[in-house]
């Protein structure tokens, strides 16, 4: 994307006013998407985003500038702007010699979506629409979306690091509305992987569409969810968003350092029930949160955050790790070249236990079974978090009975982790997610086995 000699020159300019660290992050991203709604392929969209962000660090201050101009002159102007914003006491010229490394993710993209004819992508939309509508007359509306992107990044910094990576992601989602006597309900199914068009060898588009339609139809008969505390069983692969919110964000080192995490100072302590092991793993092949290197050029890692209930480590980016005199854990990510990186999750999941999932439900006299979770949100300072249930049922006398309307559940991270009293042997990853933090969204994955929390507060309307 940019010549090595130009990068060295630009980094030298960035360091000239006394910078302690400088970095060029360049990105060339192509997006393609297609949408079918209301029975009709509405439009195809193509997008192109290309540019570079340059940061210069002096002490605790980071200067940052970005530009869409990747010529030497454009990059030098951005480097000067970033350096001016973070001016050190020193000065003089810094010579930067880059050492080129390769990024590896352990598997190859089989079919680049950019090489797939647009007509083939459009055909998937029509198939899903037909399959969803074929489920039944109560299905009153269907929308289908397809998306792919190819993101080429380059990172070069004043420590001599120089690495490039090429990431391909493919996404597909179906959303249905069902209309009944008591109003409308919705159902959704989405899949996304860090692979190419071969994703459609893994999934039957018709089946994805039927899943979405079935969820909407099921909820037509749903009753209001309960209001108040009771045991909650989360289904395998239904969404690790529970752990993403209950402890994931609170284990991001930038929030910990600012005193904004309830998990501050708790490394080495028992923070969860025995048997609970939580991992953040950017190396997980083909998953939505997979990265070969993070957006600071550090290789992705498998980081164990909680092991058998004991807090083992936080997640780190370059700046926070540098301050603590340790290595980054490969969690420095950013939405685009227009943003500064910060500590972010990749694929966050809870390891399987040994129990039979059927027996977990059977041993729950009264509670709620959440088969699919929606999004969530956490206040890391208090640890209080919410997450939505998009498909849930009552558990009565150890059996799954009536479907429930949508709602949020609320709990406190440190308390909920201690209340996990059953772990199934049926781990699965959940649907692709977008994690938002300080206005930046990045793709993340999550996964859980069937599990039970002995008490969570359900935000329904029934007494």
């Amino acid at each position: 994307m940019i010549e090595q000699s130009v990068l060295e020159e630009v980094l030298g300019v960035a360091m000239r006013t006394g910078g302690e660290f400088a970095e060029v992050f360049a990105e060339d991203r192509r997006n393609a998407s297609a949408v079918l709604d209301d029975g009709r392929v509405e439009e195809l969209t193509s997008g192109r985003d290309r540019g570079a962000g340059i940061r210069v660090v002096v002490g605790d201050t980071t200067g940052f500038a970005h530009t869409a101009d990747l010529t030497e002159a454009g990059l030098i102007a951005a480097a000067e702007a970033a350096a001016a914003a973070a001016r050190g006491g020193g000065g003089g010229t810094n010579v930067v010699a880059l050492d080129r490394r390769s990024a590896s993710r352990g598997y190859d993209i089989e079919t680049y979506p950019g090489n797939v004819p647009k007509a083939r992508k459009v055909e998937l939309l029509g198939r899903a629409n037909d399959a969803a509508r074929a489920v039944g007359g109560a299905i009153s509306q269907v929308s289908v979306s397809y998306g792919d992107n190819r993101r080429h990044i380059l990172v070069a910094n004043s420590d001599g690091l120089f690495v490039e990576d090429d990431t391909v992601r493919t996404f597909f989602a179906v959303s249905c509305v069902a209309t009944g006597d008591a109003g409308m309900q919705t159902g959704r199914e989405s899949v996304g992987h860090t692979i190419g068009f071969e994703m459609f060898d893994m999934y039957d588009v018709d089946q994805l569409a039927r899943n979405a339609a079935d969820r909407a139809l099921t909820k037509l008969a749903a009753r209001p969810a309960p209001s108040g505390q009771m045991p909650v069983v989360i289904g395998s692969g239904g969404g690790g968003v529970l752990f993403h919110e209950a402890c994931g964000h609170g284990l991001e080192a930038d929030l910990v350092a600012k005193g904004a995490s309830v998990f501050r100072g708790r490394v080495g302590q028992q923070v969860a029930s025995k048997g609970v092991t939580v991992v953040d793993d950017g190396t997980m092949e083909r998953e939505w949160g997979n990265i070969a290197v993070d957006d600071e050029g550090n290789p992705a890692q498998r980081n164990v955050l909680i092991e058998d209930g004991v807090l083992t480590d936080y997640m780190w980016d370059h700046l926070r790790a540098r301050k603590e005199g340790r290595r980054s854990s490969g969690n420095g990510r950013r939405q685009s070249y227009q943003n500064l990186p910060m500590v972010r999750m990749t694929n966050t999941y809870l390891l399987a236990g040994e129990e039979d999932p059927e027996s977990i439900i059977a041993s729950t006299p009264k509670g709620v079974y959440v088969k699919h979770l929606g999004g969530g949100q956490v206040n890391t300072a208090t640890g209080d978090f919410v997450f939505g249930m998009t498909e849930a049922y009552l558990i009565e006398d150890g059996k799954i009975t009536e479907p429930l309307r949508e709602g949020n559940l609320i709990g406190n991270g440190p308390e909920v982790l201690q209340r996990i009293d059953a772990l199934g042997n049926d781990f699965a990853m959940g649907p692709p997610g977008t994690c938002g933090k300080d206005g930046q969204g990045v793709p993340v994955g999550d996964g859980v086995p069937t599990l039970r929390v002995s008490s969570l507060t359900i935000g329904g309307t029934a007494a």
Partner: protein
């Protein structure tokens, strides 16, 4: 109709958009939407500048319509080769869409835009040192606000100056500019083993509009009044929503009233025109021509004049919002309600919602509540609100209201209802309209009979 862009940079952008639109061949329509903005963000932490970001960004979105099929492409640069590529891609995309007789670009409708220009060049010309001083000053004010304040997660100063233009081969030409600056702080307060956060913000069209003291006081008050908060038992409650919270409910309602949702059968109010959908106290308009709104504008995303649209009057649903395509399908004119960015096609959306003032202050409405909850924060709006079914369930923090006064703090509880019920359960609307950073104007609201899920 003649229209003069407000300055040379806007005129240059309009000329660029028109030059792209002029490339339409005889069998197609072409629209170009062009935007260029400069911004800075200063983040202060611990008495130091944590980061200083400055940048200029620009982009173009191109729609091509031929045979009632629409294709779209965008690029975040205004370099000539990228624009040519985007036009070619949009053209290439169009034939893959299925035809729809209503698809097409906006046509000039003879409605003149209401002149508006709140652009203050002093926003862009403000020296970097002054921005840094403001961010550091706000952080210090928050730290000094209460002995229990242990830090500020971040205090920010942001400014943005932007210009846009839209032009079509059907004769649309619009351009505008805007500038604003804003500041916010997120305070951390500690007492014993409890930590709470509280946010405050201030926004203005000019740097001198910023009220640092108000933002700091707000952040400090919110971070320090929740100590000892715990869940309360599940019960039916009345809630009191200060303007910023009430605006959230108004925005949810507004989102269900777009022609796009109605025509596609996704609005719970789609067949309710002329009916009472809310308490007679509620009157809601979407009016970007109201210059008190921070979202005030002359043109919508398709280049049509913005206008005042009545949505709900005395509780009765009046109508829906349309862009040109959804309007054609509904047999109605566009309401000038196309919203968009560079990387998306226009969609129908609310621009500057305003709830008409009722009677009374926050304190007087509070005094009328026997038992209730004052909501300080709502979480999980994206996961707990379904605008098709109308189901609403959110996590909250706040204070109980007892005998007309704010009482003990509460956290880790939910409140739930449906949007349909909440609108009918509005029992009071205050006179205290506040114009919020997002552009919505809203007074205090009191809503009865929600389910609180707690201990």
């Amino acid at each position: 109709m003649s229209f003069e862009p407000p300055d040379q940079e806007s005129a240059d952008l309009l000329a660029l958009a028109q030059s792209v639109a002029a490339k339409a061949n005889a069998s197609e329509q072409v629209e170009a939407f062009v935007e260029r903005s400069s911004y800075t963000t200063v983040r202060a932490h611990g008495g130091e500048v944590e980061s200083f970001t400055s940048a200029v960004s620009a982009g173009i979105g191109i729609r091509v319509v031929s045979d009632h099929r629409q294709g779209f492409a965008w690029a975040r640069t205004l370099e000539a080769d990228a624009i040519a590529d985007a036009l070619a891609e949009a053209r290439d995309n169009a034939p893959f869409a299925e035809p729809d007789e209503w698809v097409g670009l906006a046509e000039p409708d003879g409605i003149a835009p209401v002149p508006f220009d709140a652009f203050d060049p002093s926003v862009a010309s403000m020296p970097a040192s002054q921005k840094i001083d403001l961010a550091l000053e706000l952080e210090q004010m928050v730290r000094d606000g209460d002995p229990r304040i242990t830090g500020v997660r971040v205090a920010t100063f942001s400014d943005s100056s932007s210009r846009f233009a839209v032009a079509t081969s059907t004769g649309i030409a619009g351009a505008g500019r805007g500038a604003w600056c804003s500041m916010s702080a997120l305070a951390l307060a500690e007492d014993g083993d409890e930590t709470y956060t509280g946010g405050g913000s201030t926004v203005g069209f000019r740097p001198e509009d910023l009220d640092l003291a108000e933002a700091a006081d707000d952040a400090v008050l919110r971070a320090t009044r929740l100590f000892g908060a715990k869940p309360v038992p599940s019960q039916r409650v009345t809630i009191i929503l200060e303007p910023r919270m009430a605006a959230t409910i108004a925005s949810l309602l507004g989102s269900t009233l777009t022609g796009e949702r109605v025509l596609k059968g996704r609005s719970p109010f789609g067949d309710r025109i002329g009916e009472a959908i809310a308490s007679p106290m509620l009157t809601l308009v979407d009016d970007p021509t109201d210059h008190r709104s921070y979202a005030a504008d002359m043109f919508d995303g398709e280049g049509l004049a913005c206008r005042r649209n009545q949505l709900v009057v005395d509780g009765v649903l009046q109508g829906f919002l349309y862009d040109s395509a959804s309007g054609r399908r509904a047999g109605r004119p566009s309401t000038g309600s196309a919203v968009r960015g560079v990387s998306s096609t226009p969609a129908v959306g609310c621009q500057a919602l305003a709830v008409a003032p009722g009677a009374g202050s926050f304190d007087s409405l509070l005094a009328d509540i026997d038992t209730g909850v004052y909501l300080q924060t709502m979480t999980g709006l994206h996961s707990g609100v379904n605008l098709v079914s109308g189901d609403i369930s959110v996590g909250i923090e706040g204070l109980m209201v007892r005998n007309g006064q704010l009482a003990e703090p509460v956290r880790e509880v939910t409140i739930a209802s449906t949007l349909q019920r909440m609108l009918l359960d509005i029992v009071a609307i205050g006179a205290d309209v506040e114009w919020l950073p997002g552009g919505t104007g809203c007074p205090t609201m009191v809503i009865a009979d929600l389910s609180l899920g707690g201990s």
